[in-house]
Amino acid sequence: MKIFSIFFIILAFSSFSQEINPLNGVKQSKPNFIALKNATILVSPTKTIEKGTILIQDDKIINIGMIVFIPDDALVIDLQEKTIVPAFIETNSSLGLPKISGRHSFFPQIETSKEGAYYWNESIHPEVAASAIYTFDEKGIEEYIKMGFGIVSTHQNDGICQGISAIFSLGTTNYSKQLISASGNPFFSFSKGISNQTYPSSQMGSISLLRQTLYDLKWYENATKKENNLSLDALSNQIKKNIVFQTGDKLEILRAHKIALEFNLNFTYLGSGNEYAILDELSKLKLNVILPLNFPLAYDVKDPYTAKEISLSDLKHWENAPLNPGLLFKNHVPVSFTSFGLTSANFWKNIKIALKNGLKESEALEALTLNPAKILGIEANFGTLEEGKKASFSIYDSNPFSEEAILLESWILGEQKILASSQKIDIRGKYNLIVDNEYLTLEISGTKEKPSAIIKKRNSNTAGNSKIKKRKRNQKTVEIVKDTLEIPCYINLVGNDVTLQFSSDDLKWEGSVSLHAKANMKFGVFEGDGTIADGTWVKWSAIRNETAEKTKSSSGSDSKKDKDESEASFWFPNMAYGFTEKPKTETVVIKNVTLWTNEKDGIIDDATIVLENGKIKFAGKGSPTTPNNAKVIDGKGKHVTSGIIDEHSHIAISNGVNEGGQAISAEVNIGEVVNSDDIDIYRQLSGGVTASQLLHGSANPIGGQSGLIKLKWGHTPEEMLIPNAPKFIKFALGENVKQANWGDFNTVRFPQTRMGVEQIMFDAFERAKKYEKEKIANPNSYRKDLELEVLLEILKSQRNITCHSYVQSEINMLMHLADSMGFKVNTFTHILEGYKLADKMKAHGAGASTFADWWAYKYEVNDAIPQNAAMLTKMGVVTAINSDDAEMGRRLNQEAAKTVKYGGATEEEAWKMITLNPAKLLHLDDRMGSLKVGKDADIVLWSTNPLSIEAKVEMTIIDGEVLFDSKKDLELRKINQAEKARIISKMLAEAEKGSETKPFVKKKAKHFHCGTIGEEGSTESNEH
């Protein structure tokens, strides 16, 4: 009774609904109500109604349930147990938006080319509103509808602040009715997009630019006397909203999340498909994630020569990616799906792959409806089929999540769109086929929509006979399988009409047979007529004796598949040489070993070292008590040293080592883009390196901040960063910063000479000083400038400089400049002419970090001499030998040994150049660099004197964790090989099943050097 009254109120209210648009002709006719009955209704992820009814008025659901009062004036549609699924919601689309393309110019474009009161950087354009540039795209809309979507949020996929999305209903009527909201989600990313402006040229640059933009916004919103900026106006409205942050890798989620915390923003992360590798972090931080379902295809691995080129990390990703959605749900990460990268042809296939790999049906529905509705903020009207919500749903002939269903109708805002005949019948199964008195078996399989067929005949002859007789003829292949003859058969189904065509020489009639019949599936019977080879018309019939389900279940191939899945594993990191479990601190005792203490004791034979709780507990002669559970190693004939510290390294960095877009980029920070998945980490461990300063490159005079890491293989970037490490920044002088070797077009950016380098640095520090005055004068209204903040730290001696430098003139200049500003240059790196100025460097207090013997690669190294390091050491300058090169980084012991040869350093002096001295230069010598009780347990066990050419690393330990063990390494190689072989055979099995494969593509081994430009690494030379 109550339902009844509400119903009338609504009716009275809505029957007078008006439209703005004028009408051409007479108003369209439609029923007052529509009732869909006898349907299985997936109301929401948690609720399903069997044999239910939905009552619709206009675009709304006004009642839903098992028992619903259907008014007289309702159009009733009997759905005969078909399934109604809420319309899916796409959060990530560029539907109906113009294609974007960039410009290219040979000369670098430093300033914006966009006219108007917009932000100074072309990759920041929050003012782009998708609703304003949307055009009707019928094909695109149909594609989404076919996948089951009813609502799409579309945005222009370009830049760092990309603009705001528009939410559309996928109807085909008019724009105003389709547009749900012109103010959907703002989109951010770390990719600069099509902007041709030089800045930013790296991911760390993008991070800094986004942060600076957000600080600018704060200032813009608060400042009283302000300029007008349309970009910041737009951004101001966006930052309170739910922002979708596009990522290209799991690590980018963690990077973006730091920005979310810094500015108190609400980010939903658009993932890349490898989020399974940061499960712990995602569930701990309770992050919202939108996942793509375009799982990688299996590689074509038939040729072992190309199969060997595919890396284990790619193979593992292929196996692990389908587990991604299920795993995230299991770990309580709110997940939405995007169809990005998929089409209606493979959308359901990929959903089913996820369902087979641990995703529950209810979770899949949630990820396609309720969760995206929440992200778009439209859950009041969409996402579930409840009273009062919009009538947007799809009708399938069965449950699409559990069966192979056909989409029959799409209802969008109460409007019906018929997509397939609901009459589609399932004819699959096994039939007895009788044609012109010939008795055959007809097997129909394939999909319900597109069945396929094969005709079989039991051979009455002996198997041997028939084998000789039957061979290929024409194009058709006739094969003898045991004693059964198999004949391929063309089959077509339109409505109830079945057509069959086959050809064989082994039946009663030689040649082609064409048959047509009406199917009566109530009885499982086809009955009709057709022609045989000689054109004679014959009668035929087929009677089903086994349905499709039965055929399927009897095949029983699923048990093997389950076994395969259980073998999928996740390593830390998820690639060759990864750990099966995160490494843990161990207690280690090495006895009878030679210790290179780097302390007063020097080199001690027959000594013992004890590592406990990640620290050195004992190092020296004597017999300390062996702690419980200690790993005891006999070090007879072997040597233990503190771990090698590489003062100048560019490994383990994501998307760009240089922010060369501007001459000064103090705001960028390598520490924000540490890449924990770089194989070079493991390779450096195999050479005894335990810590590295990841330096910005040398593309500009004032580069970026350093990331000081320990090479903690198997850990996250955050865990690799050295806690409370002193602050460092890279400066650079000479040919690289004046772009001397960058070709004829790079002649625009200031400076182009050593003269300009001095002036731009002076100017920067003067600006920093003025900035501080402004800060003090207006503590609440100054514009926070990330670049000048860092320069201020230098002026206050809170941040150390490592300066890329080669020739004496520029080295001298920087020391004078620093003296005049009241700070010290901490380290000159490369410093190949350091020997010419060793006295001045000593007086200034600068240290040196140099190459052992490099020279002749460019003009400014013409006077480089390999005796440099030894001379600097003798002059009392703290001197280190560094790598700047992933290859040399893993044999720094050899490079140190060269200082013995050239310039006559003692072995202890030489060894300190790659351990204690870099620790001093990095101000980490209180915890690393020597074998002293209380220092970090970062040690290396060597097979012999570590300066000998025959020295090999047997074990590298960091914080008491054994991260490289030469014996374990041999085992890992075997494990890698076995894992590779296992996955490759699984791929081969996939290919045999007929799955699509792709040819191998292998990321080139790329490495960063000082002068490497752009986000990609390079294989070029002369970049130091």
Binding site: M871, S1018, N1022
Partner: protein, 423 residues
Amino acid sequence: MKHLIYISITLFSSIFAQENQRILLTNGFLHVGNGEIVSNSIIGIKEEKILFVKNALAYTIRKNEWDTIIDLQGQHVYPGLVAPNSTLGLTEIDAIRATNDFNEVGDLNPHIRSLIAYNAESKVISTVRTNGVLIAQATPRGGSISGSSSVLHLAGWNWEDAVIKTDDGIHLEWPNSISNGETNHADKKRNDKYEENKAKIVQFFESAKIYAKNPEKHLMDLRFNSMKELFTGTKRLYFHANDIQQILDIIDFCKQEELKFPVIIGGYDSYLVADRLRDAKIPVMLPRLHSLPENEDDAVDLPYKLPYLLFQGGVKFCLQNEGDMEAMNARNIPFLAGTAVAYGLPMEEALKSVSLNSCEIMGIEKEYGSIEVGKKATLFVSKGNALDMRTNDVTLILIDGEILEVTNSQTDLYKRYKKKLGL
């Protein structure tokens, strides 16, 4: 005037630049270069040749027979080391185009000769020599056929003086079976044009072979003319290739074209088909030992271990160091061999891989590569193991019997600034 000297580093420079002299090296720990050692050796040198090599116990010195007798006091004597496949002498400063003379325009350039671009006065050469590297193969780069290399010793006043073997071989960049992509940043994939590229090379060589049979029947063709001796003489064909597919195709190609002296340069995958290379008698100049593994999954020490793997597989090989900064890095060739020792190669085999093996592969082993009677006196003396950077300390250098300075432009600067700094 007869000299009797105990070795000292600086003395030799100008005093002994005389000709026709007879030098006796006594008390040296001799590494012959062919795998043998003589712990207390006497080496007699007359003019440019080695007169004899003897055990000191079996020889009585008659001082008046010698112009110079040098007591090596147990120091190590090595044959001059070799830097094959190098741009040493063809470049001075990598980043300065004006100093680069190793890459000519054009795709098929067999007739291009590195010899005439070789700068005997290169400052870089002087720093390479002082580590014991005394022979280099100046090699052009670029294109599908880069040109002809020549082998030179590192002491000439000019290329004419320095050359050991003119136009010793032609360098062919075998097509890539795996495409490196069009740009530096592109990913690797299967090269769809591999068969096509290969066919082009085959056709070019077939034509050259026809020319070589009856050159007089043709008009002069510079390219084919330069290739004649690949089929009729001792000219080497150096295949630059790394992948297994390439290597196997090269083995077939060599049989088909009846090449007498094929050599593979690179051969990263060679260890996978060592038996086939051994049977086909194709030697390999291995890739720079101090390089990272090619593939993420490869054994971290694979480049270090390749010499040992080929040694075990019975394949003739030597070391070279093509790559970043290869000219200046030629001085580190002894340490490439040293590193191979740490990864399984016996010490004297390691020496061979940078001396006699290299000379055999290039076809100059009759005169160079080891310290044996009748060969040129091209050798050096080091205080310690010359293959270890810690102990490599060269005190005496002889090239073709001539004693050379053990200083270079860098030691000159060192001396000058030591004085300035009061060190």
